[in-house]
Amino acid sequence: MSHESVDMKDIQGIVRFGYSALTEACFLLLTVRDATAARAWLKSAAVTTAEKLSKPPDTALQVAFTRAGLEALGVDEDVLAGFSAEFLSGMAGEDSRSRRLGDTGANSPNSWRWGGPGKIPHVLVMVYAKPGLLDGWMRTIQGEKWNAAFTLTDCLPTSDLQGMEPFGFKDGLSQPSLDWERKRDPRGDELEYENLLSLGEFLLGYPNEYSKYTSRPLLPADAPFSSVLPVAEDEPGMRDFGCNGTFLVFRQLDQDVRGFWRFVNKASDSNPQERQQLAEAMVGRGMNGTPLVPVVSKPIAGIDPGTAATNQFTYTSDPDGVRCPFGAHIRRANPRTPDLPAENNLISRLGHMLGFGNPRYRDDVIASSRFHRIVRRGREYGEKLTPEDAIRDDPNSAEHGIHFIGLVGNILRQFEFVQNSWVMGTKFDALSDESDPLLGNRSPIAGREANAFSRPRETGLERRYEGLPQFVTVRGGAYFFLPSLSALRYLAMLGQH
């Protein structure tokens, strides 16, 4: 298969880069006050692209829109109808979606600061800069049209915790690798976990892990202004509004750092060593990022040798969850499962496919990972708080948390599936009565508790912790579309005659 190469200049940079050198960042939530002014601002906005520059940038600017935002800019309903149902409905659009995402009780959108009913932003402007440059860059990007164009509804600050998340763990270590070269041809069952994924999983307009193009808005070639859009690769008669764009899932997660460390401290009888071990068992990594299961020597496709020490592992060496509990956060979020747990010979594969043989009770119970991956670009907020300080009595109630930002080509199959079946799911990997030890909302389901955490032990009976309080509360969230540069140009042209 020969494919056209990818035009990096058409893709917003956040898809390819985390901008880790740009340690200052701020996320602006806006509503469109005046569409003409907003389009004029968009036209002049210096949106950073995925192109690799000889000198990395000192600043970056990214722009994304909710459905309401696209409507406010004048995108046609016919065009919008090409988007997926979950984007159109929104993160908080349906009770059933909230139920699946665990956004009930304290997480209910009704009590969100933003993104809940009546508080849905139109535009997300993400501003990044090197230390000391953020304020100046903010002034630069706002320009003269800004005030006429937008009403600022929220400004979400971030803080630089040097790669740690607020609980004190190294974060962002595992990311899927994107097949920018377009060499991947994912056909047939994969018998080993791989970390290199088809572009279409994270960018619209390209084949995904099913070798299919995810549906997205396509415009007839004669539609107004559509000539600025690339031609749809799978339908050459159409122009592709989605191509080189993706969906951006944003969730503001308030982390109760004091509550977390106080709980694990109490559960460990205030023994600092045991306390840390329990916290690490909940996460699935050491605080420094070392995985709890040993790394393997055999390379895994899509895992850079430079990150082998933190990432070159699967859970096949730990089938009983003795090293890394089944319910640990990172084991839930990415169980690193292949398509088919079989040997590479035809008989074994056929046997597994048909479910012959005598599979044991816990064999083959988790879905294949590669259809459920997320590129994470989150940023922390709040001051650093060490475990020692967190357990100390202190009335200081300053908020800590993370602005979770996930990029996916299919919100339902990737973000919502992971959140529902793996993170919130009380039955993940044959567990019962427990959800993610960090993210779980602890709401009972069907009369059964969801607040336990179990640590299997070599010797037999597992260590079971009960009554985990909620450590993470959702404060806001929305589904955004992160358009390509050409789609941004298209948006800027709407309304012209």
């Binding site: 139920r99 009770y361 199959r413 529902n420 039955k427 037999g460």
Partner: protein, 433 residues
């Protein structure tokens, strides 16, 4: 062992009483998607042998699809179906049903053609029971009584292990097991736990099962010359059909999708109901009959211990021919969300889905009957959602318990009752608790 059986009482809804029927059924729920097990019409809680049951109105919104073959739409009736899965024989169950829910059922079936105040309910139910083309039971022989007792056993053991964690620390696996066995024996003695021995397997069921087990291969051998002769023609017909059959899988409208989603995920288990028309012509009908026969046979004799091929999440399923094999209704009770269910379909058993549903109008294009089809992810998901029906009333006797939970609890009980176990067996067993 007490085998499971199923029932599906089906009757045509009187069009003028459709709306009234829906509101009567809605009264059986606390809220949409959440049944009141003690409702006044069918008090499910009193029907001890029932695993799952549902009332669903089989209203087919895809009858126009046949037009893609240039054929006129046929207005097939809308049915009310009351179906469920239970332990023991259908006859015994019907008698119990009429006894415990007679008035309620009369109230409901009053909205159907041919049912009057003077109708003999038991007779009517028997006459309106539809036998499925194929059915699947996750674990043949696992009764509601067993599930109830083993769930209580596990809960008691978890509590005991938690309360005695200090005194159990450092004890060797065999010693821990002895303590647990002693505890369980005491609880059984005190009447707080029960571990009832399974009833003997009914002789007639064993005989029928054996006849089916041997009969099918014998029949196949006898027919094999014919089948071999027919095979090339079947393949040619199949390839012609596969290349020309149109797909009908537009995005479902938001209202339909939202309605379906609103009654899902109130429990860790969900219901699924779908219906559609078989592609016109004898060929597809014959393939469908053949495929369902194979599914029924393998479900009966091979996939009867926790898995349907690789799928662990289906507790009960059935495929039912309607209207002289013009249409098929599919019903299942599955663990997890619809998205994870479809993920299983696509990634684990696409071949199985394809052989059945590719004989339905509009299914995504297959290749050699087993390839592609469901692997066309988004088209397949659209197709499925489009054919899915909202279930008006859904009862699950064990909310919060998945098929895997039930399997684990049975393994825990085995470990209590086994005369001896090795140390490594015990260690593995203890991890289940």
């Amino acid at each position: 062992m007490t085998p499971q059986s199923n029932f599906m009482i089906m009757a045509t809804v009187t069009p003028s009483r459709d709306a009234e029927l829906r509101s009567v059924l809605a009264e059986m729920n606390h809220e949409p998607g959440v049944v009141n097990p003690e409702n006044a019409l069918v008090p499910f809680e009193q029907l001890d042998c029932v695993h799952f049951a549902r009332f669903v109105i089989l209203e087919d919104k895809t009858l126009d699809d046949i037009r893609v073959y240039g054929l006129p739409r046929v207005d097939l009736p809308t049915y009310l179906a009351f179906l469920g899965d239970m332990d023991g024989s259908v006859e015994d169950f019907f008698a119990e049903l009429v006894h415990k829910a007679g008035d309620g059922l009369r109230n409901i079936f009053m909205h159907c053609d041919g049912f009057t105040a003077g109708t003999d309910l038991l007779l009517w139910i028997r006459e309106h029971n539809v036998i499925p083309g194929a059915s699947y039971v996750n674990w043949v022989g696992r009764t509601t009584r067993q599930i109830r007792e083993e769930s209580a056993l596990r809960n008691a053991l978890v509590r005991f292990a938690k309360d005695n964690s200090d005194s159990l620390r450092g004890v060797a696996p065999a010693g821990i097991r002895d303590r647990l066995k002693t505890f369980v024996a005491g609880e059984v003695q005190a009447g707080r736990l029960a571990l009832t021995h399974p009833a003997p397997t009914p002789f007639m069921w064993q005989l029928r099962n054996l006849i089916n087990l041997l009969g099918m291969p014998i029949l196949l051998v006898i027919l094999s010359p014919l089948l071999l002769l027919a095979l090339p023609f079947v393949l040619i017909l199949l390839r012609i059909a596969e290349k020309s059959d149109p797909e009908v899988a537009p995005r479902v409208d938001a209202g339909h999708a939202d309605l379906l989603a609103s009654i899902e995920d109130h429990d860790v288990t969900n219901q699924f109901s779908a219906m559609g028309s078989v592609k016109p012509g004898l060929f597809r009908r014959m393939v469908m009959i053949g495929v369902l026969t194979v599914i029924d046979y393998t479900a009966r004799h091979i996939f009867n211990r926790g898995r349907l091929a690789r799928v662990i999440s289906i507790q009960f399923a059935r495929w039912v021919f309607l209207d002289g094999k013009r249409r098929v209704y599919f019903a299942s009770n599955y663990d997890g969300s619809l998205e994870s269910y479809m993920d299983d379909f696509i990634n684990k058993v696409a071949f199985g889905l394809n052989v059945v549903f590719s004989n339905g109008i509009g299914y995504p294009r297959t290749n050699w009957l087993v390839l592609n089809g469901a692997k066309d992810e988004l088209t397949f998901k659209n197709y499925l959602r489009r054919h899915q029906l909202p279930t008006q009333v859904w009862y699950n006797a064990f909310p919060g318990l998945t098929a895997l939970d039930k399997w684990r609890n049975a393994l825990i009980r085995e470990g209590i009752e086994k005369p001896s176990m090795t140390d490594s067996e015990i260690r593995e067993w203890l991890r289940l608790i």
